[in-house]
């Protein structure tokens, strides 16, 4: 962890996006008081992380990536125990557990052992554990990793529900679509550093224009490059190693017909043509020089 400088507003879903090993979990664990930072400072929900970690613990919830439930316990037992670990009385803890089970649609399985749950059910129990004491902010480490698409969509809804309850949600993810669809703001992390920060739309806007991918045989690529290099609407041109060109243009939809015409004119045969709207992956690519999918 080197340069991480962040501000997260109350009531937003903030996402940490980055490849595995970028330092997302480490950052989260530091903010959740599990690792002592050796420098820097942080104020979490108004409490100072270094001076008063005990107060931070009271104000935050944390849902680790690898699970946090015990096979032989039931969801209800786990919830009651967890609430009580926050100093909540027994009767209140039981009420809260019942309410959480209801909210996460777990009542039906509440008294079965955790080992009998599906991945999605278990993850919901874990999120319920993280918010049983009504924290101001909850940290979710890769909340959807390992879930099937349906459970994933379900989990997104749950996370949005937390936000509408007024909670600040801090998640880590290595899924681009998740960061894009779910988060109000994101920070892109690589090698322990934040390389970009903003709303998904802002970040994508930084990558001006669209990309047109032209599929060509390796042999035809240099000729095509020559033919298109001078065209006014092409801001930048790159050759693809396996053959083909990547054209950076302002407006992909109008550029495509011109590209087709130009290549046709030059007597070059093209295999395919694709239009790419900028994605967060492109943001990552421009900031780090490699693709998030590859790393």
């Amino acid at each position: 962890m080197r340069g991480v400088n962040l501000e997260v507003a109350e009531g937003e879903i903030f996402g940490f996006l980055g490849p595995n090993g970028a330092g997302k979990t480490t950052t989260l664990r530091m903010l959740a008081t599990l690792i002592e930072p050796d420098g820097g400072e942080a104020t979490i929900a108004g409490a100072d992380l270094r001076k008063d970690p005990a107060e931070v613990r009271r104000r935050i919830g944390y849902v680790p990536q690898g699970g946090s439930t015990w096979d032989e316990s039931t969801a209800r037992e786990e919830l009651v125990l967890h609430a009580r670990m926050y100093g909540i009385g027994k009767a209140d803890a039981q009420r809260r557990a019942a309410r959480a089970l209801d909210a996460f649609q777990l009542t039906e399985y509440a008294d079965r052992k955790c080992k009998t749950y599906s991945g999605g059910q278990r993850r919901r129990v874990e999120i319920a554990l993280g918010i049983i004491h009504e924290p101001k902010i909850v940290f979710l480490d890769e909340p959807t990793t390992g879930l099937d698409p349906q459970s994933r969509a379900h989990m997104w809804d749950e996370i949005r529900r937390l936000r509408s309850d007024g909670m600040t949600v801090f998640i880590t993810t290595h899924y681009l679509d998740e960061a894009d669809a779910l988060c109000d703001r994101i920070a892109i992390m690589d090698n322990g550093e934040v390389v970009a920060e903003g709303t998904p739309a802002e970040l994508k806007r930084e990558i001006s224009g669209d990309v047109v991918l032209v599929g060509l045989d390796l042999a035809a690529t240099p000729q095509a490059a020559k033919a298109l290099d001078g065209e006014l609407y092409v801001n930048k041109l790159e050759t693809v190693d396996e053959g083909g060109l990547r054209l950076y243009v302002d407006e992909g939809a109008t550029a495509i017909p011109q590209v087709l015409r130009r290549l046709d004119h030059a007597g070059l045969e093209l295999r395919s043509i694709e239009l790419h709207r900028p994605s967060l992956d492109d943001v990552f690519l421009t900031k780090t020089g490699r693709s998030l999918r590859e790393s």
């Binding site: 599990l34 613990r57 009271r58 680790p64 946090s68 439930t69 015990w70 125990l81 670990m85 926050y86």
Partner: protein, 251 residues
């Protein structure tokens, strides 16, 4: 107050999980009973004891200390499973007392050890063992202190090594010389001088001597208070050290 409540909370949970899996009672009692039935009969002639009961008075306390040592030392395995499940991490983000996380678990180990000890004592009664109840309770206190220490140390080591593969050989390596040098299976009365010299440095040897004195009804013996003091100090140190691991450990 908060600390006592937190400890009780963890203890309750651990006991609840323990009772849910009653196999431990069988496992925990089966081995010592085997010793009692299959090994102890050799002792009367071997120890030159006048009666079978006299042999049991020497053997049973040793067996109980053995149980306390081994029962405690291998508790770390359960903790590694909890670490892997994320249960410890989840506990550590709450404001619960770190000492309570340890003590709640160690107290469960102490209680289960004492239950085992009671069962074995009752069985030994069938073999004509007779002990005064006051002495017996003090002996149980000694056992409880030993179990508290060994289980705390085991938890501390488990938090450090984080893997069963490392914990098993480590604990075996520690336990074996401790066992041989404590005169548990055979009293060190017949040991050559150098061996006794080493055994004097083994705290468990003092604990075994103290427990034997109690079983012999020799409450006034120096060995009793010496054994109790040594185990109490070691238990306190063990708990202190392990609680620090709970406060610090990463993952």
């Amino acid at each position: 107050m908060k600390f006592a409540r937190d400890t009780w909370l963890i203890f309750q949970r651990q006991i609840q999980l323990l009772l849910r899996n009653p196999v431990w009672v069988f496992v925990g009692v089966f081995q010592p009973v085997m010793y009692l039935l299959l090994f102890a009969p050799l002792l009367k002639p071997a120890l030159n004891a006048p009666t079978q009961a006299a042999a049991y008075k020497i053997f049973v306390p040793g067996l109980l200390v053995l149980l306390a040592i081994f029962g405690g030392l291998f508790q770390g395995f359960g903790l590694i499973a909890e670490l892997r499940a994320g249960v410890i991490e989840r506990s550590r983000v709450t404001p619960i007392s770190r000492l309570a996380l340890l003590l709640g678990r160690s107290l469960r180990d102490v209680v289960s050890l004492v239950v085992q000890a009671v069962i074995i004592t009752l069985l030994a009664l069938l073999f004509d063992l007779r002990v005064f109840i006051g002495d017996l309770l003090l002996a149980y206190l000694m056992l409880a202190l030993i179990a508290l220490m060994t289980s705390a140390v085991s938890y501390g080591v488990a938090l450090k090594v984080k893997s069963e593969d490392a914990l098993a050989p480590l604990m075996n390596t520690v336990a074996q010389p401790v066992l041989l040098l404590s005169g548990i299976l055979l009293p060190l009365t017949f040991a050559p001088g150098w061996l006794q010299g080493i055994a004097d440095w083994n705290p468990f040897s003092w604990a075994v001597d103290g427990t034997r004195a109690l079983f012999a009804g020799d409450l006034g013996s120096d060995k009793v208070w010496q054994g109790l003091s040594i185990t109490a100090v070691l238990a306190a140190l063990g708990v202190f050290w392990a609680a620090r691991q709970f406060a610090r450990s990463v993952r």
